[in-house]
Symmetry: D2
Subunit: 152 residues, 4 copies
Amino acid sequence: MGRRLDRSSKSSRCSEHRLRRRVQFYELDPAGIVHFSWYFRYMEEAEHALWREAGLSIAPPGAAVAFPRVAAAFEYHRPLRFEEEFDVHIRIAAIGGKSIRYTCAIEREGLAVATGTATIVCAIRTAEGVMKSAPIPAEIAGRFEVAAGAGA
Amino acid sequence: MGRRLDRSSKSSRCSEHRLRRRVQFYELDPAGIVHFSWYFRYMEEAEHALWREAGLSIAPPGAAVAFPRVAAAFEYHRPLRFEEEFDVHIRIAAIGGKSIRYTCAIEREGLAVATGTATIVCAIRTAEGVMKSAPIPAEIAGRFEVAAGAGA
Amino acid sequence: MGRRLDRSSKSSRCSEHRLRRRVQFYELDPAGIVHFSWYFRYMEEAEHALWREAGLSIAPPGAAVAFPRVAAAFEYHRPLRFEEEFDVHIRIAAIGGKSIRYTCAIEREGLAVATGTATIVCAIRTAEGVMKSAPIPAEIAGRFEVAAGAGA
Amino acid sequence: MGRRLDRSSKSSRCSEHRLRRRVQFYELDPAGIVHFSWYFRYMEEAEHALWREAGLSIAPPGAAVAFPRVAAAFEYHRPLRFEEEFDVHIRIAAIGGKSIRYTCAIEREGLAVATGTATIVCAIRTAEGVMKSAPIPAEIAGRFEVAAGAGA
């Protein structure tokens, strides 16, 4: 699982991840294609794999900060069917002081299936139990960088 | 919602609940029928509605105890299709010192769709963070009773 | 369920629907708030209820046309927690010859929880089994209209 | 994917499959453990992988028969948490003329997490559109056998 190597040099920062995945039966709708809501979970799976590749968990036990989603979107180009294998390619498009924005391309045999975006915000729980945005801790921000050509 | 009335007399205890529900599109499989995994969620919905009817939440904020499931089963008799309305009838079959066992009948227009069972156990989190079974608090156990004819 | 009244006059067309819903346990994430992927299913539930209100099913048995989604998006403003009741307010923002665009506001006690959009396209299955966009049949298009103030 | 080799000799029949899987964030409940309904989907994933190993798909395009579930059950021994890796070990416990019964052991680092069972029945769609049980086709039954020591 998560490597916890020294990643002090900029070039070792993580900026993208490609996940190979197979369509499961319970993800299908009556038309025999993946229900559109599942693409958001595919994107999340790839995001968390990217964090693991960076030596991190996005939700470790006893975490001081959480990363709720403030926006998510997909455009659908082609369907996915039962047992098909596909790739979920997530890239970091922007890193702000308190947020990270991703783009995501889902592909099957090189063909575009869907393209998405998501933005997470770093949050802490206040004494009143309310979530409030906060700066991304340096030990997390320092593991990531914007993917080449994925800016904005 | 949750009535918080005096329920000291035995006859006011809750023992069963009937939930009316409609099949949603995202619950269907490629055969156009509800995927078998959804029945377990239907049973859980009815269980939590039963607890609300008893003036309780099964998972209130800051709860001292939790009620994880130790067993769940369904037998499937007839399919459910898109937009069909059906009933989820949950009944308490047994109450032990640390556990509650339910039976559940899912019906559509009076026909048996599926029959299930589930057992939950009262648990507390130890100082080491492990869940351990514990007696059901009296203020919870006192709200429920075994349904007539549903024994064991 | 679906009323099948005469809807020949323009004023009887449907343009929006408000669905009251309660948060279920299985929709929650480890932070105790609804997982972001569920909002897309909430929007779909409200959409299908809108179609029923218009006297239609979006996926009746043996349908000649289907309505796959080509885009879906949400922005998240406030969390939803266990057993909270909330409203899903869907409105038709645009009707094209082959597509319908919705906007969706999710609210709890008058506060904005999330705002979303979705676009569906009318599709037929070709002889080769491929889905191809097609004009929305008049008997469907004639049941809907753009909601006041929701234009594009 | 699915090998389509000659499997005429009895010893090449498939009787069990072990799937390695990681817990995804969207499978967790507010206690930070996998929601009990997910185990049924894990078992299904392993079942379909077993069929692929036998050179088959359980739901190929244009299939003449389907395999709906008539029973499913799990007992839960230990929780699974975020990002943990676990094994889903499915075995064929019985093969009847029209049904297959599985047992399933979910384990993490050699410890029992959950044990389950499921029974599927071979079904054809009648002219009236109703599902009716039917003999398992020989070309499917011939690919499987009961696992050693797993008999009913």
